[in-house]
């Protein structure tokens, strides 16, 4: 299906839902679409990003296939989202990374791994990589210069933040603090994964809270790990304390908790994905979804292994692998599944902004 055909198909389905409205209570998509008589391409992208493919409206739909209206709202919106990610990516040419995103993520992982190894090989004598290290402050930097590591990560971080901000702001900008707050609250609580009360119909046609729980593990796991990194940076530059830190130090506690979340969450989500109803999914996005979950899982796994074996001969290699995973994760943040969160947040903020407007003239019986 070409992009134009996809947008037209979405518009056709949106018109059917707007005439029907039975699914109004499931999520934000329906109240938002009911504010419109016509659907521009921009509207289609906005509405698609309010949807999280729970399937409730598909199971409830009297027009789902084999009905001749052939309505598969969740799948159509999923396909549109894949186009959103491409369309709004910054810089624009990198949007093409979404075309075969699984392969792109794998390639970046491999490149990062080689890059880190090479950097180490150039910096130190190879035997030091396999040496045992007493767990004392600064031992990591025996195998990798701190300056080099901080420099590379710092640059990547700046670029990633800029790329993500540019992409999201091409999608929607709001200076309205209230609606941003509303969008943020809905995002952080995953309000609409609640399916209007008892959980949503994911992975199968029965209300369940599983996806919400695993998503929370993933997201808050990620945040805790990120917090650990920030605290570590502060320790290093602020207090001159060098990594690795003791087991009961703040960065290690945060990182461990987050790491556990990042193991359970992605594993759970991947497991649910396996069980999920194939008729609702956009199969073309499988690589992107799986690639991101795998990368999160591996980042956490290697981090925890590094923590466990940091006093052994394996430390050097584990550090290399872990750093490579973290680097790959960050590099692909603006060009992978992670962006769905930002577009969702932006769409929800817009949803809250629209709700403050007077009710539109879109008819009543």
């Amino acid at each position: 299906m070409s992009l134009d055909e996809l947008i037209q198909e979405a518009q056709r389905q949106l018109r059917i839902c707007n005439a029907c409205r039975y699914c109004e209570g499931f999520c934000a998509v329906f109240p938002a679409l009911e504010r419109r008589l016509e659907f521009t391409e921009d509207d289609v992208h906005y509405l698609a990003n309010l949807c999280h493919n729970c399937g409730s409206c598909y199971y409830a739909c009297q027009y789902a296939p084999p009905h001749e209206f052939n309505l598969n709202f969740p799948r159509t919106l999923a396909r549109v989202r894949a186009q959103t990610y491409r369309r709004y990516a910054w810089p624009a040419f990198l949007g093409r990374l979404y075309e075969r995103n699984g392969a792109a993520v794998a390639a970046v992982m491999a490149a990062c791994f080689l890059g880190v190894l090479l950097a180490m090989a150039l910096a130190i004598e190879p035997w030091r990589l396999f040496g045992a290290h007493p767990d004392i402050a600064g031992s990591f930097y025996a195998v990798l210069r701190h300056g080099a590591m901080a420099g590379v990560f710092g640059l990547v971080f700046v670029f990633v933040v800029a790329a993500m901000a540019a992409s999201a702001s091409r999608f929607f900008v709001s200076t309205d603090f209230d609606s941003l707050k509303g969008g943020l609250a809905d995002s952080l609580t995953l309000k609409y994964l609640g399916g209007g009360g008892e959980g949503c119909t994911y992975p199968q046609d029965e209300a369940s809270g599983a996806r919400r729980v695993f998503h929370h593990f993933t997201f808050y796991g990620f945040l805790l790990c990120f917090a650990a990194t920030c605290v570590g940076t502060l320790y290093h530059y602020g207090f001159g304390w060098k990594a690795p830190y003791p087991f009961l130090s703040l960065p290690v506690i945060l990182g461990t908790l987050g790491g556990v979340g990042l193991l359970l969450g992605p594993a759970g989500l991947a497991w649910l994905k396996r069980k999920a109803d194939a008729s609702l999914k956009d199969e073309a996005q499988r690589g992107m979804d799986d690639g991101f979950l795998l990368l999160l899982f591996l980042t956490s796994l290697t981090g925890l292994l590094l923590l466990a074996f940091r006093e052994t001969h394996a430390m050097g290699v584990l550090l290399a692998v872990h750093l490579a995973m973290v680097l790959a994760l960050f590099l692909t943040l603006p060009y992978g599944k992670f962006m769905h969160g930002l577009y969702r947040l932006a769409a929800l903020a817009r949803f809250h902004a629209e709700r403050k407007l007077p009710p539109p003239r879109v008819g009543s019986e």
């Binding site: 018109r15 209570g25 199971y59 008819g363």
Partner: protein, 474 residues
């Protein structure tokens, strides 16, 4: 195709004598099946549609009408028994059975707890339906979501369901039901049970029967709901000696978009532009007061009005001022910058349409337009008049929606008593035959309709039928 699982289920179903057999797996059938099973009976549901299309007209519904004396969860205000009864009395013009009607109304107050207990969820009245927030409780996700919940609950309780089996014949020994013949492809089989609940809907999708009742005009009717309600069990019961009630041309019939599919177009094919412009027939002439009534009533009369016009077709015509004032219909309107061009697109005579609109415009006496009340915008000296919301059609672009009669469901029914027992022509109730839903709705709805009452009747009588059937099966 028969999957092996169904085959197995079918073989065991055939060899057994069930306590309760339910014909039809819509709202009424499922309510009956669940109640019978809860009362301890073994229950088999026979449904003629494949699983994807199970649930008949119920899969197209959105709400049910409930009596209540104070605000309750999704319902605002109060809707007491007497007001409900008066509403019904008004629309049916007295063609109703007060005892049964009041029983349904009273039971409607407690329906929702039972429904919730079996997985149904509710939501506040939908966008654009504020006028129903007091009287009607909306199902979250609509009727198909409700049915999915009921099927899950029923199967969880141990109710068996057979799809793609149409009941084609009933076998009686004197006034006692013994077996039903069901058809699958070219094969016929017999299923036995101690009690029968007929919940197989009306005859709205039986095109020959509609033709018999309405004459050749019926060929131009569209059927809004399921293609599976052919009334075979209604006829079989009448043939077996059941008393019938109602006129076969009575039912719920609305004006819907002429471009809709023949069957199963459901709610989205409605067009409510009538009151905002004019409606002309094939000859580009007006034929009825478009501003007579508000939505529910207007909705319920325009199907019949269009059915009375030549070719059973009409065209609702509005101008740019009307856009955004009615729920956007599923098909985009025909659109043009001049009336003549619009006429050509609608296969109407351009000169006649121009003259009809010019005459109409000349008769409009401007008032204060207010679509929420019966306002003072009316025509003067025009036949037929437009008594409210009359505004000149003068702001391009102009829009047209072609309309045809859409049959929702028919009222011809078997007579039942308050225990849902089917009454025989001799006057006594059949020993072990019960009816629920559309197949008996005509006892209460002789004509006219109040929105949401079909599901109320099916829920109340389904539960009673299931319970009573389980009792006599013991």
């Amino acid at each position: 195709m028969l999957t092996s699982r169904y085959k197995e289920a079918f073989i065991s179903a055939r060899e057994k004598t069930w306590d309760v057999l339910v014909l039809g797996g819509g709202n009424a059938g499922l309510c009956a099946a669940i109640s019978a099973r809860r009362a301890g009976a073994s229950v088999l549901v026979v449904e003629s549609a494949p699983k994807d299309f199970r649930g008949g007209n119920s899969r197209h519904t959105r709400n049910l009408r409930c009596m209540h004396d104070a605000p309750q969860d999704v319902l605002t205000g109060a809707y007491p028994e007497e007001e409900f009864w008066q509403d019904l009395l008004k629309v049916t013009g007295g063609r109703t059975d007060e005892r049964l009607a009041r029983m349904v109304i009273r039971s409607s107050a407690s329906c929702r707890d039972w429904m919730r207990a079996h997985g149904v969820r509710f939501q506040p009245s939908l966008g654009g339906t504020l006028h129903l927030s007091r009287t009607n409780a909306f199902f979250l996700g609509g009727g198909k979501a409700l049915l999915n919940a009921y099927y899950r609950a029923a199967e969880g309780l141990g109710v068996e369901v057979l799809y793609e089996r149409e009941a084609v014949g009933l076998e009686f020994e004197q006034d006692r039901f013994v077996a039903v013949t069901v058809k699958h492809l070219d094969r016929q089989d017999t299923l036995r049970a101690r009690a029968l609940v007929v919940a197989s809907g009306g005859f709205e999708s039986n095109l020959e029967w509609l033709r018999e009742a309405w004459g050749p005009t019926a060929d131009n009717f569209l059927i809004r709901g399921t293609p599976y309600n052919k009334g075979r069990m209604l006829r079989a019961l009448i043939d077996a000696g059941a008393q019938s009630i109602g006129d076969p041309t009575q039912g719920h019939c609305v004006a819907i978009d002429a471009r809709s599919p023949k069957f199963d177009g459901g709610i989205v094919t409605r067009v409510d532009a009538v009151s905002l412009g004019i409606v002309v027939n094939r000859d580009a002439k007006r034929f009825y007061d478009e501003g007579e009534e508000f939505w529910p009533k207007r909705y319920a009369i325009w199907g019949r009005l269009v059915a009375g016009q030549p070719g059973q077709i009409a065209h609702a015509i509005v101008d740019a001022k009307a856009m955004g004032r009615f729920i956007p219909p599923v098909y985009p309107p025909l659109q043009a910058m001049t009336i003549a061009e619009l006429a050509a697109k609608s296969s109407l005579d351009p000169e006649q349409l121009e003259s009809t609109i010019a005459t109409f415009n000349a008769a409009v006496r401007e008032g204060t337009f207010d679509h929420t009340v019966l306002d003072d915008c009316a025509t003067e000296g025009l036949t037929p008049p437009k008594t409210h919301w009359a505004r000149k059609i003068d702001t391009p672009p102009y829009f047209a929606y072609p309309l045809r009669p859409g049959i929702t469901f028919t009222y011809l029914s078997v007579v039942v008593d308050e225990r849902a027992r089917v009454r025989m022509r001799g006057g006594d109730p059949a020993k072990n035959v019960f009816a629920a839903g559309e197949v008996m709705a005509g006892n209460i709805l002789g004509q006219g309709y109040v929105g949401g009452f079909g599901m109320t009747i099916g829920t109340v009588f389904g539960r009673i039928a299931g319970h009573e059937a389980a009792r006599v099966a013991r």
